[in-house]
């Protein structure tokens, strides 16, 4: 059954390049010697950024999605890749964050000169590339099974990043992550199997045309979305995230918190808006939003009570993910003709992007602060301002975005969500957004207050941080702030390729 045919567009081959380039990098690392891992990564990273930008330019110019059908074989036999406005935005975001992380990680994962090769640099750079390939596949895939494979690749690249240093606690955290993510995968796979049984296709466009309101579809969507929530660590399924994200090296934490948890959310978005029978179920949307509200409130308070900086940031990630789940009822109930022309949907996507930039910057800044001070206990952060002022400034700017204060991407995102909540009379959501902002401000200020205090008498600086690393972190934070100058209305770009789904 071929309910929908994809036609490859000009320039579609770039999509393949976006996925294959990181793989080539990985293979090159194994072929050319593990010592060169870092150098090869530095070739691939900017290359990937250029590819992502080229695709984005293509989408922007043509105003339509870029599609590629591998080998000309139509789904369900072949594989189709498709970049619409949303996926290309996330691809560029991923490339930007990874390049910044690559720059900052330069110091920490270089192979020592006296050794032929070392385990952690090789693993780090290979996995970062693997993770990139997985993320791009998630963003471009048009088939539930391909998405499953991409998610697994993502999990298997992300888990070892957690336990790079090989300490007992991080191994434990990684194992927790792995097991829970696998349970999530099992649920997803079961749901996918049910859908295949019911409709005989796993192709998103095909399912969209066929989807009915029946028991099989409901059960399948329930299983898949719950499984994906487990992978995205939405409250109350966040058991694995705080130890994993806090235990990983800062560069890895940045990628995990900024990008990796967003991939399962992206698939939920796809399932909800592209697969689920329309009009979507309002009650189920409310349920997702309530989990989001619980996530925002509960985990913000938890962040406020953490003694260690990285644990605080990890809990803040769970809280900020909660905002993303608010968009389901907000996008549905609006007056806009389609969901993606609504303020709520745009606000949600903007929250995703600005959180990714801000959180990456915050984790990297926390890493640099910990490197300079030799610890990350919030109580003893005094003096950080005098040692790594730029990192503290980056932390503050990123914090601005998390708090939702102007000018920052987080402000515009939360303002849009709040506007949508007001327009659709979802007062609980509005209250949660405001409360979450106050709580976020409290935990960010708690850190800044300590970091800006004068150093105590027995203060010692453990390591000096090269300027370019600090400036990169600041650059990411500034990106999050600059996002605050986008106009307060739905962007046409994010809707490209969505209106006339094939």
């Amino acid at each position: 059954m071929t309910p929908a045919a994809y036609t490859a567009t000009e320039g579609g081959a770039l999509l393949v390049v976006a996925i294959v380039l990181p793989v080539i990098g990985m293979l090159a690392i194994f072929a050319l010697g593990l010592r060169r891992a870092e150098r090869i990564a530095y070739l691939v990273l900017p290359g990937g950024l250029l590819v992502a930008l080229a695709i984005a330019a293509d989408v922007a110019r043509s105003g339509a999605a870029v599609t590629y059908v591998l080998g000309g074989w139509q789904p369900p036999l072949g594989i189709a890749l498709r970049a619409d406005g949303l996926s290309v935005t996330l691809m560029v975001l991923t490339a930007v964050v990874l390049c910044a992380v690559g720059l900052v990680a330069r110091g920490s994962f270089s192979t020592p000169t006296d050794k032929a090769e070392a385990r952690s640099p090789m693993v780090f750079w290979t996995l970062i590339l693997g993770l990139w390939c997985a993320l791009n596949t998630v963003f471009l895939g048009q088939d539930l099974f391909n998405l499953f494979v991409a998610l697994e690749l993502l999990t298997f690249s992300a888990v070892p990043l957690v336990c790079l240093d090989g300490r007992r606690e991080t191994l434990q955290a990684a194992l927790r992550y792995l097991l829970f993510a696998l349970i999530g995968s099992v649920l997803y796979l079961m749901g996918a199997a049910l859908l295949y049984g019911a409709y005989g296709t796993l192709d998103l466009a095909g399912l969209r045309l066929l989807a009915r309101n029946d028991l099989a579809t409901s059960v399948a969507l329930g299983l898949m979305i719950a499984g994906l929530m487990a992978k995205a660590a939405l409250f109350p399924l966040h058991l694995w995230l705080p130890p994993a994200h806090a235990g990983a090296p800062a560069a890895a934490s940045a990628v995990l918190s900024a990008l990796v948890v967003k991939a399962p959310f992206f698939i939920i978005l796809r399932l909800w808006f592209d697969v689920a029978p329309q009009p979507a179920n309002a009650m189920a949307a409310q349920m997702l939003a309530w989990l989001g509200i619980a996530s925002i409130l509960f985990c913000s308070v938890m962040a406020l009570r953490q003694a260690r900086l990285k644990l605080m940031i990890a809990y803040s990630t769970v809280a900020q993910l909660g905002y993303l789940f608010l968009m389901f009822p907000l996008a549905m109930a609006s007056d806009a003709p389609t969901a993606w022309e609504s303020v709520g949907w745009t606000g949600g996507v903007l929250q995703l992007v600005s959180h990714a930039l801000a959180k990456a910057s915050m984790f990297l800044a926390a890493g640099l602060i910990a490197e300079a001070l030799g610890h990350d206990r919030i109580e003893n952060l005094d003096g950080a301002m005098s040692v790594v002022p730029i990192s503290v400034a980056a932390f503050g700017l990123a914090g601005l975005s998390l708090m939702g204060l102007p000018p920052s991407g987080g402000f515009v995102a939360k303002l849009m969500l709040l506007t949508a909540a007001t327009e659709t009379a979802n007062w609980w959501i509005a209250a949660a957004i405001l409360m979450g902002g106050i709580l976020a401000a409290s935990y960010v200020f708690r850190v800044l207050n300590r970091a800006m205090a004068a150093p105590s008498s027995n203060f010692a600086c453990k390591a000096s941080i090269p300027l370019y690393r600090e400036l990169t972190v600041l650059g990411l934070a500034i990106c999050a702030v600059v996002l605050g100058f986008v106009p307060l209305q739905p962007f046409a770009f994010l809707g490209i390729g969505r209106v006339g789904l094939p």
């Binding site: 829970f180 349970i183 999530g184 649920l187 309101n213 028991l215 579809t217 409901s218 059960v219 399948a220 969507l221 329930g222 299983l223 979305i225 719950a226 499984g227 929530m229 487990a230 409250f235 109350p236 399924l237 966040h238 058991l239 705080p242 689920a276 179920n281 009650m283 189920a284 349920m287 989990l291 509960f298 308070v301 938890m302 406020l304 009570r305 204060l405 102007p406 000018p407 303002l415 709040l418 506007t419 007001t422 327009e423 509005a430 405001l434 409360m435 902002g437 106050i438 401000a441 409290s442 200020f445 207050n449 800006m452 205090a453 004068a454 100058f485 106009p487 307060l488 209305q489």
Partner: protein
């Protein structure tokens, strides 16, 4: 863009440029001496520019600056006080540890506080309002003592609550208008008749009322204003509270009669006016007394706005701004004067205390001072009934509180009998004090239909004098029973709230335990399956 428009942009750009210039070490080292210059463009703009509006960034961003009469009046007064307080700070803060940091917070607060008077679009207003509110935290927290830490925490917590209230109110305002970022006046014009009118007005009154210190949201003010260094106290109490006043002026549809909301705001304001006096009278430290006086005076401004709002009287905004300008200059001068008294020995004290008394009783409407003009101009708004009587009585309350303040002030005098304050400090103080006496006279004919001579008629003089006489009598009486009046701690009701802290801590611990339980394997796995089933069931059965 005309040549003067440049000044309006520079009002915001110059202080920000100074902050950026602090990245350069040599400039950073001398930043304190530059502080008095930062508000100069604002001052010039207030003098030479009126009614122009400039769009800095075109739609859909629409960053727009504009200066109307109300804005110019407050901008001019605020710039003057910022300049004088900056001069004071450049001398008094010199050599103190952390003075560079202080200067940066100072400049950021300055930018925000002048910005609220000149921005015309909603988003920029929120931006500059937040900037003023949050940067002032650095001024409150500067001393880094246990007292200032507590004060700054309370300040921050309430400022954030205020931000949330205002943001929500703004969103309700904007949701009635098409497009992303409307001009304030367009949004307000669309408000009446919109289904969200009542909640929006409520949120705006609460949010801006918090900034003005209206009871019961005033608790941060008596904590925060006294702990800052003298010049910072002057701008906090003189200028930053006016961000709330301009907020109400700009965002309430004052010209549309609204009897219910107007009455509510007036009652709240009068209540605050008396509450500030009653609690202020039990305070020991002159700066705390002044902070409570600010609470009380902002109550009067709120009452003026409420009275005008209830009838939709034209010119309410201008009159309230005029009152606010009078308070801005007088309160600024009084706070700076507290510092001058502290540096003056008993031998020269009279030369400082007499002008201070003049300023203090100006707040109660002493004839021939700006207070008399402000009270005279705003009186008709209250009509002839109970409200007018209460407003007059609040002047007696102010006289009472100020007599108490002067009594406490003398105790601050320098131990060294011959001590004299530095000339530049005196100059800064005298500049604001003189401006407070002169400026309102110059502005009065412009903003009201009365002739100046009417304000000094016998009837007016009598009306202004008797409340002060009553206030003084009350002060004499209270001195007799001084020992038996209870001491109310600074921040009054906040102390009751702070008793809840152990409870909050227990809640936090309970949440941590819940988190531990939720993050156990069996619990999380069961939750996951439950969610999957619940979600599937919802999709299937709930439509």
């Amino acid at each position: 863009m005309t040549e003067w428009n440049f000044l309006l942009v520079a009002t915001l750009a110059l202080p920000l440029a100074m902050v950026v210039a602090c990245l350069h070490d040599a400039f950073y080292a001398r930043i304190l001496s530059w502080l008095p210059l930062a508000p100069v463009p604002g001052l010039l703009a207030a003098l030479f520019e009126r009614g122009d509006s400039i769009v800095i960034a075109p739609a859909p961003l629409r960053l727009t600056l504009a200066l109307d009469d109300v804005g110019a009046m407050l901008l001019g007064g605020a710039s003057l006080l910022w300049a004088a307080a900056g001069l004071y700070a450049s001398v008094s803060m010199r050599g103190k540890p952390g003075s560079g940091r202080f200067a940066i917070w100072w400049l950021l607060t300055l930018t925000g506080s002048l910005g609220v008077f000149i921005v015309a679009d909603m988003t920029s207003f929120y931006l500059v309002f937040s900037l003023a509110s949050l940067s002032a935290f650095g001024l409150v927290a500067f001393e880094d003592t246990a007292r200032s830490r507590r004060a700054s925490q309370v300040y921050m917590a309430l400022a954030l609550v205020g931000e949330a209230l205002i943001l929500f109110g703004f969103v309700m305002l904007v949701s009635a208008t098409p497009g992303g970022n409307p001009l304030i006046r367009d949004a307000v014009a669309m408000l009446s008749g919109s289904p969200l009118e009542s909640p929006a007005v409520l949120l705006l009154i609460l949010g801006f009322g918090l900034k003005m210190g209206l009871v019961p949201l005033h608790v941060w003010m008596p904590l925060a204003h006294p702990v800052a260094p003298i010049p910072a106290s002057a701008v906090l109490s003189g200028i930053i509270v006016k961000a709330g006043v301009i907020g109400l002026i700009r965002f309430l549809p004052l010209e549309v009669p609204s009897p219910d909301w107007g009455m509510a705001l007036m009652v709240l304001g009068l209540l605050t006016a008396f509450y500030g006096v009653i609690v202020g009278i039990t305070q020991e430290h002159p700066k705390t007394v002044l902070a409570y006086s600010t609470v009380s005076q902002m109550g009067v401004v709120a009452a003026v706005l409420g009275a005008g709002f209830s009838t939709g009287a034209p010119g309410t905004a201008t009159l309230a701004a005029f009152y606010a300008l009078h308070h801005l200059l007088v309160k600024g001068a009084l706070f700076l004067g507290v510092g001058i008294v502290g540096a003056t020995g008993s031998r020269n004290l009279a030369r400082v205390v007499i002008p201070m008394a003049l300023l203090a009783f100006s707040l109660a409407g002493l004839p021939f001072t700006s207070g008399a003009l402000a009270k005279f101009a705003t009186k008709p708004l209250f009509g002839d009934g109970l409200a007018a009587f209460m407003a007059t009585l609040s002047a007696a309350g102010s006289a009472f509180l100020m007599a108490h303040f002067l009594g406490r002030l003398r105790l601050l005098a320098n131990e060294n009998a011959g001590a004299v304050p530095q000339t530049s400090l005196v100059f800064a103080w005298a500049l604001v004090a003189a401006a407070s006496l002169v400026l309102p006279w110059a502005l009065f004919p412009e903003i009201t239909s009365y002739a100046l001579s009417e304000t000094v008629s016998l009837k007016a003089l009598w009306a202004a004098s008797w409340p002060i006489a009553i206030g003084l009598l009350m002060a004499l009486f209270i001195q007799r029973i001084h020992s038996i009046i209870p001491r109310i701690p600074e921040g009054d009701v906040i102390v009751l709230l702070e008793r809840l802290q152990p409870l909050a801590a227990r809640c936090g611990i309970a949440l941590e335990r819940t988190d531990l339980v939720l993050r156990r394997w069996p619990v999380a796995s069961i939750l996951l399956l439950t969610l999957a089933m619940a979600f599937g069931a919802t999709l299937q059965f709930a439509r």
